[in-house]
């Protein structure tokens, strides 16, 4: 049977466009989301505010009380005003920002690690281990998060001593909050990871890896996990936002991070009693929270689309 194509110019393949790497593709798609890019810029601004801003004042200054100037509206010496015991709100928002952001990041890390571990083990090994882990996950789902946060927050509030880190003294309640938020937010991610593992482990590349004797740990972390990074990244990003809000709620109610350490949340504690007389008490920290969480939500949404684009058209 003769070759259909005996013309050389036909046999020369079309010049292929250089293929973009996966991360380049993701970045290109991310950039298309204007809101996500705005979010990134905004978040960077927030981070700069909290980190660089610290070079203009010191932490001890943010804790200095001076009841003679308590509840003063914004003026030059105190651009954001002062709070109920005369502390400078601007400095407190700077240092408070550090804590809020830190809590958000580390709580997210706890949550992601737990969610991925539990989901991966349950999904990969299946059987009784899976049932047990899923029962546990369901039980945790059944418990409402805020009440649990409150209970645990109150329980562990005074139990841990202050500790120094990165040149600052953190009250022990920071660790408590991080642990509590992290330990109550992992369930959704665990479910997703488990579902992905269940389907991915049936794929041929896993069978192939098994055939050549790859150990289970390598398969889980080296083969299957990289294929399910998209929901983990998105969940982690949004997890930071949720953690920041959760911390704000708990601190607002007074069982989160304890003064004098400032966080954006505990600065709002009691502010509703002064709503008429001192709105600057809550406007500044509140706005900062909103801007930060907003920017993270934008980024998370952009990542979600960039990492997992829907098929745009079906050209049939």
């Amino acid at each position: 049977m003769e070759e259909i194509n005996n013309n050389d110019s036909g046999a020369i393949a079309q010049i292929e466009k250089p293929q973009l790497s996966y991360s380049q593709l993701v970045w290109m798609r991310f950039k298309r989301h204007k809101m996500a890019v705005v979010g990134m810029v905004l978040l960077i601004l927030m981070i700069l505010y909290s980190t660089l801003g610290a070079s203009f004042t010191t932490e001890s200054y943010s804790n200095v009380t001076d009841t003679s100037i308590r509840l003063s509206p914004p003026y030059l010496a105190h651009p954001f005003g002062t709070d109920t015991v005369g502390r400078d709100i601007l400095a407190r928002t700077i240092y408070g920002g550090q804590i809020s952001l830190l809590i958000g990041l580390i709580a997210m890390a706890v949550e992601v690690i737990m969610g991925v571990l539990i989901g991966a083990i349950a999904g990969y090994y299946g059987g009784i281990l899976d049932s047990l882990l899923m029962r546990f996950t369901e039980a945790m789902f059944n418990v409402p998060q805020l009440p649990l946060l409150l209970v645990l927050g109150k329980l562990l509030a005074d139990k841990i001593d202050p500790f120094p880190l990165l040149g600052r003294e953190f009250s022990g309640s920071v660790i408590v909050i991080i642990a509590v938020i992290g330990l109550t937010s992992w369930m959704g991610l665990a479910r997703i990871v488990r579902a992905n593992f269940l389907s991915l482990k049936e794929r041929e590349f896993v069978t192939a890896a098994n055939c050549i004797g790859t150990r289970n740990g390598s398969i889980i972390f080296g083969h299957i996990l990289p294929n399910t990074m998209a929901p983990i990244i998105v969940s982690g990003t949004l997890g930071v936002a949720n953690a920041i809000i959760s911390e704000a709620y708990v601190s607002f109610l007074g069982v989160g991070v304890m003064p004098p350490t400032a966080t954006w949340g505990n600065m709002l504690n009691g502010a509703y009693q002064y709503i008429e007389s001192a709105p600057w008490l809550w406007i500044f920290p509140g706005t900062l929270i909103v801007l930060t969480v907003l920017s993270i939500n934008f980024i998370g949404d952009g990542l979600r689309d960039a990492l997992d684009p829907h098929a745009l058209i079906k050209a049939e």
């Binding site: 809101m35 029962r135 369901e138 039980a139 789902f141 059944n142 418990v143 409402p144 805020l146 009440p147 409150l150 209970v151 645990l152 109150k154 329980l155 562990l156 936002a241 809000i245 704000a248 709620y249 607002f252 109610l253 007074g254 069982v255 709002l268 502010a271 509703y272 709503i275 008429e276 709105p279 809550w282 509140g286 706005t287 929270i289 909103v290 969480v293 907003l294 993270i296 939500n297 934008f298 949404d301 829907h310």
Partner: protein, 344 residues
């Protein structure tokens, strides 16, 4: 089907037990209810100890749990500390419906305290949830059907912002605007505290007007979240092949939406709703605190900070029980909506 329901209920029992044990253990470790029990009068140490013995607070944790669970009317307590138990216990335990007495109000049955606040929470949460769902459905469906229109883009941007705001920020901002500043500017303003004006009494219109700001604060966040979810569900459903088939049969947009799309989109939404409803009972702690609404959320928080174990346990168990029941109902509704799921 009946066997499935029974099986689920049976499975729930160990779950509830474990939850109760865990929470009980956590609560016991945190704080001393006797510290505030005396009120303004200082309490003599002997009285304190006597109280502790009556309430069973001197016993080890697991015994306390057992008493909480099944009561202590089948044992005797040694009240006068002479080594001989002589007074009969009076508690029947939660399994027999006795939630114990509040450690804070000294003797008032916990269940009464809870039930007194329960209607207030329902008055707040049920209209709020209905409002949230109706609005979110409308916005989400409209957004999905008119994708990329300027309304859709505005709604998407708006819901992002709304979703990123902590409730207390919206509460404070709305209080500031609608109550404080409206009053300053001479406009009719909305009340910010409590369920009704004590001078006027608990009338229907009083309650309604006091509901406005709290419901508004809660709604912004929830509507933002829900409408985005509804929108994405609708978009996913309407991109399915069977929707194309429905159009190919000559159905109008409205008919396709109502007869073909909604039922499919509702399925995952029902699951979410089922998870959210029982948490309504927890009330919204933050909202109730800010607006001084006398509901279960504030009750929970107040009694938690005073280590009132019976009341706190009572509320949490109530919520957990509601969660279990709601999940069961959700699964049944799910099976009814989606014929591919059949329980045996």
């Amino acid at each position: 089907m009946f066997r499935y329901v029974v099986r689920r209920l049976l499975q729930a029992i160990p779950l509830l037990l474990i939850i109760s044990i865990v929470i009980f253990a956590l609560l016991q470790g945190s704080g001393d209810p006797l510290a505030t029990l005396g009120g303004r009068r200082t309490v003599r140490p002997e009285e304190r100890e006597r109280l502790a013995r009556i309430l069973g607070l001197d016993k080890p944790i697991y015994i306390q749990y057992v008493y909480w669970l099944v009561g202590n009317d089948w044992v005797k307590i040694d009240v006068d500390n002479d080594g001989i138990p002589e007074t009969a216990g009076t508690r029947k335990g939660i399994l027999r419906g006795d939630f114990g007495t509040s450690l804070v109000t000294r003797g008032e049955p916990a269940i009464d305290i809870i039930l007194e606040r329960l209607p207030n929470t329902l008055i707040l949460m049920i209209p709020a949830e209905i409002f949230i769902l109706m609005t979110a459905l409308a916005i989400g469906i409209y957004s999905a059907m008119r994708q990329y229109s300027w309304i859709d883009q505005a709604v998407t941007a708006g819901s992002f912002i709304g979703y990123s705001m902590p409730i207390f920020f919206i509460a404070l901002a709305s209080m500031y605007l609608f109550a404080v500043n409206f009053r300053k500017w001479g406009l009719p303003y909305l009340p910010t505290v409590g369920m009704f004006d004590p001078k006027v009494g608990k009338t229907f219109s009083q309650v309604v007007i006091h509901l406005v700001l709290p419901i508004f604060s809660m709604s912004v966040v929830s509507i933002s979240g829900w409408s985005r979810y509804v929108r994405s569900q609708m978009l996913e459903v309407t991109s399915q092949d069977y929707i194309r088939t429905a159009y190919a049969k000559g159905l109008s947009e409205r008919k396709v939406l109502v007869r073909h799309a909604l039922k499919n989109a509702a399925i995952p939404m029902v699951t979410l709703l089922g998870i959210e409803i029982p948490f309504l009972l927890g009330g919204a702690v933050v909202t109730e605190t800010i607006f001084g609404w006398p509901g279960m959320g504030r009750l929970f928080f107040d009694h938690l900070t005073r280590s009132d174990t019976p009341v706190v346990m009572g509320i949490l168990m109530l919520i957990s029980f509601a969660v279990v029941i709601c999940q069961l109902i959700t699964d049944i509704v799910y099976g009814w909506l989606d014929p591919r799921i059949r329980y045996d």
